[in-house]
Amino acid sequence: MPDAGRRTKQGHAYCLKREQQRLLESQDAVRVILVDDDRHRMGLLDSALSAAGHEVVGKLLDTDDILGAVDRLAPDIVLLDVDSPSRDTLESLGQISRDRPRPIVLFAQKSDSETIRRAMRAGVSAYVVDGMHPNRLQPVIEVAIARFQEFQGMRRELENARTKLADRRDVEKAKGLLMKRRGVDENVAYELMRKMAMDRNIRLGEVARSLIAAAELL
């Protein structure tokens, strides 16, 4: 509560009460560090974890000082993308731990392999303090999987929409090129392209783009 000092007395009391409540519940509240270069996804994950009663104690980019943050913030779990380069940095913590009292291990060892596979397919990887009970871990992982999937879905939709738009634009352009070069009408030009797409088993948009590229070469 960084702004507690600015609160009114009443607010302060309320805050203390909340703090007591939090301490009571702290057996379930998990301290989480998020590492993600995608701020949008990090935001999604942050709000979902907070809503589930967990505490996001750090939000970092791949280029940030992750080791320093782990030392300083003492998280129970670090969540990050399966493909994040920072995974290797976190891996080293579990290996040579003489100097670091808080060993962190891949959750894979503690968890059932189905959870691992689901998490990996969704793109989540997690580093967990050794000895943390799987019961506390599971809900955090579930939230992360759900949010990563939701994010992937949104990105796919956006990409689809973009592709459709680009396809329509390129098909129109290629149609115009064909009409001019072959002296055919719009319907014939469209049929030519459709046949080419079917023969080559590619999308109409791709046919259009290769026609445009070929025309630029000539």
């Binding site: 994040s84 290797d88 976190l90 579990g94 003489r98 100097d99 894979a108 691992i116 990996m120």
Partner: protein, 365 residues
Amino acid sequence: MSAARHGAGPAKRARLRIGMLPLADAVPLLVARDMGFFAGQGLDVTLSLEGSWAGIRDKLAAGMLDAAQLLAPMPLAANLGADRLGVPMEAAIVLSRNGSSITVSNELFLAMGSPPPDPVAAGQALWRVIEADRVAGRPRRTFAHVFPFSAHHYLLRDWLDAAGIEPDRDVNLVVIPPPLMLEHLRSGRVDGYCVGAPWGMAAEIEGVGRRLMPTHMLRTDCADKVLGVTRDWAVLNAHSHLSLIAALIEAGQWLEKPGHREQAAQMLVDSHLIAAPRESLLRALTDEGDGVYAPRFVFGVGDSARPRHEDARWFLSQMRRWEQVSGPIDVDALVESSYRLKLYGQAQALAGSPVPGDIVARCLH
């Protein structure tokens, strides 16, 4: 390759997904794909660019990749369960030997009195700096490597220890992904690192650090990367595995022929895989104009791609020395099952022998 996919050939091509990291010595995989060695062995290979060694290991273990570029000690760590995953893995071909260097910040290089490229002299110079730091109560220096189970890690520790610097007491050792090394050196978060080419020379080109020595001065022709598969996959896909090794033997040999390193370096530059200065990439593979600091990658000279059990034994001795593993280990059985010499021999018979014409070409060069 697309012709192969569309053609109605009688033999069905095995489709494989191979993981790799954006490093200079991933080049045998690029060569095998782009020069048709995979296709020639009846394989339809997709190269999958991965973000970390941990990620590669997990995807391999979970069957999301068929095979992958691995750091040479990784199969041993997997078979010992020291990687905390414990999915058995094996390697039957070495993709690269040598190639790394130890680099320090400009500040540290000067503090060391600009030592010559010699492990002993540089080690003594670093010891003096660390001793002076200790006496003056300055914080410990931080050195980075790329992964707990890597030749880089062991070579760095070995060098420090030989200089009387205890790696776990006198310095901080951290892991930083290769593409982020330069930034960490620039920002002063690390004082030095041991990493594969081109990241040593890149630090010099960018003016943020100086190389102390290439690691082949510490251990000549040490295996750096291997092609790894899980033991289960190797059993179920014995034929594809042999074809894969054969194609990579051919790629390694191709890389050693006159003029091909330049061509491969250009491939690497054109692939835009590695965000390092262009010149550092070109020189990483050709060694040209780099004098004693040259990385001296070996991909396929003679039998260099055959795994060597002495490498495995050395890695194991380092794992034990630095307490990554403990308890009794059946070293012979472990080495045997991790580095599969017999498979390499079988694959060698499948690999096309070097074209005689190339020997003539080499003489004419």
